[in-house]
């Protein structure tokens, strides 16, 4: 019996090793993607005009001092808004029908001592004060997308996150710093027909 198990173990040991490696990678990934609900989406308004949808929402951004310091040091912060239309299925898994990605960003211009913001429609705004600039970023308006509603069950999934790919490389690969992990999680809303 022992010999059988040893033989079996020898056969599967490569699989065991691979599974262990995958688990380690997953744990490492989980560790690095850790976020602290620093972005909160609220007051989502969805309006519809024919097949054109317009989404607006307010977000709370908990920017800690390190991030504010980073902004003051001229590091650009790019936030990514991901909007997904998900079809709800009773038996099979839900599937994404449409996906829209928009960005808004803030950058401090040292020469002029201003905070420059580009909203989701690439409109430019400049502020002398960081709080004013942040206040401007909190309100997301006129996120428009087209979608033909066929009367089925759909959900709108909203997600706002700090796009770490746009950060300077040293900050991107610093696995041990959780400051830059900002993700709202999915804010899910039923789409009215």
């Amino acid at each position: 019996m022992t010999a059988y198990f040893m033989h079996f173990f020898k056969k599967i040991k490569i699989i065991v090793v691979l599974v262990a490696i995958l688990l380690l990678v997953a744990m490492a990934n989980k560790f690095t993607l850790y976020d602290d609900n620093k972005i909160l989406i609220k007051d989502v308004m969805i309006s519809k005009n024919n097949n054109l949808y317009n989404v607006s929402f307010i977000q709370e951004l908990k920017l800690d001092d390190l991030i504010k310091e980073a902004i003051d040091k001229g590091i650009p912060l790019v936030f990514k808004i991901t909007l997904k239309i998900v079809k709800l299925n009773k038996i099979s898994p839900d599937n994404t029908i449409k996906k829209e990605v928009r960005y808004y960003r803030i950058k401090y211009k040292a020469l002029r001592k201003i905070y420059r913001i580009f909203d989701i429609n690439e409109e430019k705004y400049e502020y002398k004060n960081l709080d004013q600039a942040i206040q401007k970023m909190l309100k997301v308006e006129n996120l428009e997308f087209s979608f033909v509603d066929d009367g089925m069950n759909y959900e709108l999934w909203l997600n706002v996150s700090l796009d770490k790919k746009k950060l300077p490389k040293p900050l991107q690969v610093n696995f041990f710093n959780k400051t830059w992990s900002m993700n709202s999680g999915n804010s899910i809303h039923k789409m009215e027909n």
Binding site: V25, G74, P168
Partner: protein, 705 residues
């Protein structure tokens, strides 16, 4: 394995190069890929650690099992690993220290102050230009406000040109353009946003704008205070580019300042990345060197392990072990020499083995000869202890087929005193002064009431282990008996020849004398003559019978063999006798046919039956028993009677001529029987039955055997 090592080495080098490239050129590999690259490197390191762990485990197992070469491999691995680890560790520590200090040195206070100074200088320059445009704008606004509406356009153009402004636009509060003047003719400037116009309506407001990050523009909004209280509130917008020399410089300083600030901010992350990368490189290098040390150690130790293994094989006697030759270096030469030595050793051993086999054959041959010798051979040392003896010797001295090695001969003889005279002679010889000469002596011993003639020969041997003696003991009784039979045969032949010839003339002469003088003599004389001549004739006849018997005994061996059934022959002979009622025959089933001379065998049976018949005279209840027995490849014939038996004093010589217990007879009957059986290569034995009577046992070979 070779391919795996090559592939692993290739992957390791590729990962190292990619990592180094990623560090030196951040644009080449984006952040995500860098993370993947780091992950791959870590995975590769883990794989290497696993591989090395497995190798170490196997090596330790080999050492535990005492597999040849494993200890040497372990020692080499440790040496190579230490040789790699120590310098790499030193380089690593120095590099980390150097790197940390280098990164810190980038963020010198002086550099930061210089950059801030540059930036401030740019800001001050722009502020001065802004102040200049502010004054110009206020002056133009004052002039426009005090002019008539129909003169505004020309005045605006004149003042713009006069003050060297690029664009001048007059808006009302509803963002409607009232007047325009521009260096670029007919170009309508973009309408500012409402917020700017509102702010401009409240008082002077200036802003700086960048176009494509290359050119900086100064834009001012100045309210125009009209002399007419009824007229609308107007705002003057002036747009003036900053001179390219100042603009480029300011933007360049801003860009560098930004980068510097970003670097300052990510200083710790930068250190972590560099140290992490350096650590990965170190681990890759270290583990690769350890992994390589396994390969190199095995390469080095493999031929030596083979040599050690081969040495063990040779120690076990396997001289066929040849190690594959490897290169022409010292190890190659060593292996070549070893193979040559093994080959020579093998040849020498084979030669020695052949000699040993020859010696063994010779010894076996000698032992076989000794074992099959009917002559007893004994080797004694100086203390008269038996060193060697053959089967015949032990059979003679102990009646058993046992070895008597290391037994004092005295003890052996004590168990069988028959040979005591021999031992006395041996003792006398060995202890005497003339024991360097070969001697021989004949002994007459009485064994089982039979006289045996034993010849003893002693030969001294001088060897490395001292003096020893070879005793050759030969029972020559048969030879002497045969010699006696031969002598008797010669005597009989001569007697027959010399006596037989004159007998017939004697008999004829006696009969003629009787016939011629019988009637001429007186009755008394005639009776004397008749009695005398009858006596002569009778004696001659008796002599003839005796001579015929001698002739029969002395005849040359001439037999005519044929297949016969001995049981039939016996029954045929018995039928001739009147006393056949006292003869009882008992025979086994399926008596084999024998190949013999029927007439001679008939004579044998007749002689034996006549002897028995003679012995049974005056015996009450006489009996003769004949047994015919089937033996392995032989037929045994036993003739028993309950007669007087043979006296002990003659039984040993009963087969010799003239040896008889009967008052009448020539004593040639059993001699003839013995001769006939001998001619048939059979055996005959005669012995007394316990109470009374005689038993004659004859053994003859079955046909074809």
């Amino acid at each position: 394995m070779k391919y795996i090592i090559t592939i692993v080495a290739f992957i390791g080098i590729t990962l190292l190069i990619l990592l180094a490239k990623a560090i030196s050129n951040s644009e080449l590999i984006p952040g995500d890929s860098f993370r993947i690259l780091l992950g791959l490197n870590i995975l590769f390191i883990c794989s290497l650690i696993g591989l090395i762990a497995v190798q170490i485990f196997r090596l330790l197992q080999s050492v535990k099992k005492e597999i040849t070469g494993s200890r040497l491999t372990l020692r080499l691995v440790l040496s190579f690993a230490l040789m790699g680890i120590v310098p790499v560790l030193i380089v690593y520590l120095v590099s980390v220290n150097f790197l940390t200090k280098s990164i810190e040195s980038w963020f010198d206070v002086k550099v930061e102050s210089a950059l801030e100074g540059g930036l401030t200088l740019g800001q001050k320059s722009i502020d001065i230009l802004m102040r200049d445009i502010e004054l110009k704008g206020k002056s133009i606004a004052y002039s426009i406000g005090n002019s008539e509406p129909d003169q505004r356009d020309s005045l605006l153009t004149d003042l713009r040109v006069k003050f060297g402004i690029q664009d001048a636009v007059i808006f009302d509060q509803d963002s409607m353009i009232i007047g325009v003047s521009s260096e670029k003719n007919n170009l309508i400037p973009p309408i500012p946003n409402t917020e700017d116009i509102e702010r401009g309506g409240q008082g002077f407001f200036g802003k700086i704008e960048e176009v494509s990050g290359e050119q900086i523009y100064l834009k001012t909004f100045t309210p125009i205070i009209s002399k007419s209280a009824m007229s609308k509130k107007l705002i003057l917008q002036l747009t003036q580019p900053i001179p390219p020399s100042i603009s480029n410089l300011a933007l360049s300083v801003e860009s560098v300042y930004d980068e510097y600030q970003q670097l300052t901010y990510s200083r710790n992350s930068l250190k972590i990345i560099y140290i992490l990368t350096l650590t990965l490189v170190l681990l890759l290098a270290l583990l690769s060197s350890v992994a390589a040390s396994f390969v190199i150690s095995r390469r080095f130790s493999a031929p030596l392990a083979m040599l050690a293994g081969a040495t063990k094989e040779i120690s076990k006697g396997n001289y066929k072990k040849i190690i594959p030759e490897q290169g022409k270096d010292e190890i190659g030469v060593l292996i070549s020499s070893f193979n040559s030595m093994t080959s020579q050793l093998g040849e020498a051993t084979r030669s020695s083995e052949r000699d040993r086999e020859r010696l063994e054959d010779a010894r076996t041959f000698l032992e076989t000869i000794l074992a099959h010798l009917t002559t007893g051979v004994i080797v004694l040392n100086g203390k008269k202890v038996i060193q060697l003896n053959n089967i015949s010797a032990s059979r003679m001295l102990t009646n058993k087929k046992i070895t008597m090695n290391n037994e004092p001969m005295k003890e052996v003889i004590a168990r069988n005193l028959l040979f005591k005279p021999l031992y006395d002679f041996v003792e006398l010889y060995i202890d005497g002064n003339k024991n360097n000469k070969e001697v021989s002596q004949e002994f007459k011993l009485n064994k089982d009431k039979q006289e045996r003639t034993i010849m003893l020969q002693i030969t001294p041997l001088i060897g490395n282990k001292g003096k020893s003696y070879v005793l050759v003991i030969d029972d020559i009784s048969e030879v002497t008996q045969a010699q006696r039979h031969s002598a008797w045969g010669e005597v009989a032949r001569r007697l027959a020849h010399e006596i037989k010839n004159p007998l017939t003339p004697i008999q004829l002469s006696a009969e003629r004398i009787q016939h011629k003088f019988k009637d001429k003599l007186s009755k008394e004389d005639s009776d004397i003559l008749e009695r005398s001549t009858n006596t002569i004739v009778n004696q001659v006849n008796a002599l003839k019978i005796m001579v015929n018997e001698f002739a029969e005994y002395a005849r040359p061996p001439k037999i005519q063999k044929d297949t016969i059934r001995i049981d039939n022959l016996i029954e045929e002979v018995i039928d001739l006798y009147e006393i056949n009622d006292i003869i009882k025959v008992k025979k086994d089933k399926n008596i084999p046919i024998i190949y013999a001379d029927q007439n001679k065998l008939r004579q044998v049976i007749i002689n034996l039956l006549e002897n028995s018949q003679d012995a049974l005279k005056e015996i009450k209840n006489p009996k003769i028993k004949i047994f015919i027995k089937k033996k392995v490849n032989e037929v045994e014939l036993i003739v028993e009677d309950n007669g007087r038996g043979i006296p002990d004093e003659i039984i040993g010589r009963i087969f010799e001529p003239y040896v008889t217990s009967k008052k009448t007879g020539t004593g040639l009957g059993l001699a003839v029987v013995y001769k006939i059986i001998e001619e048939h290569e059979g055996k005959i034995n005669i012995d007394r039955i316990k109470n009374s009577g005689t038993r004659v046992t004859i053994t003859l070979k079955a046909e074809g055997k």
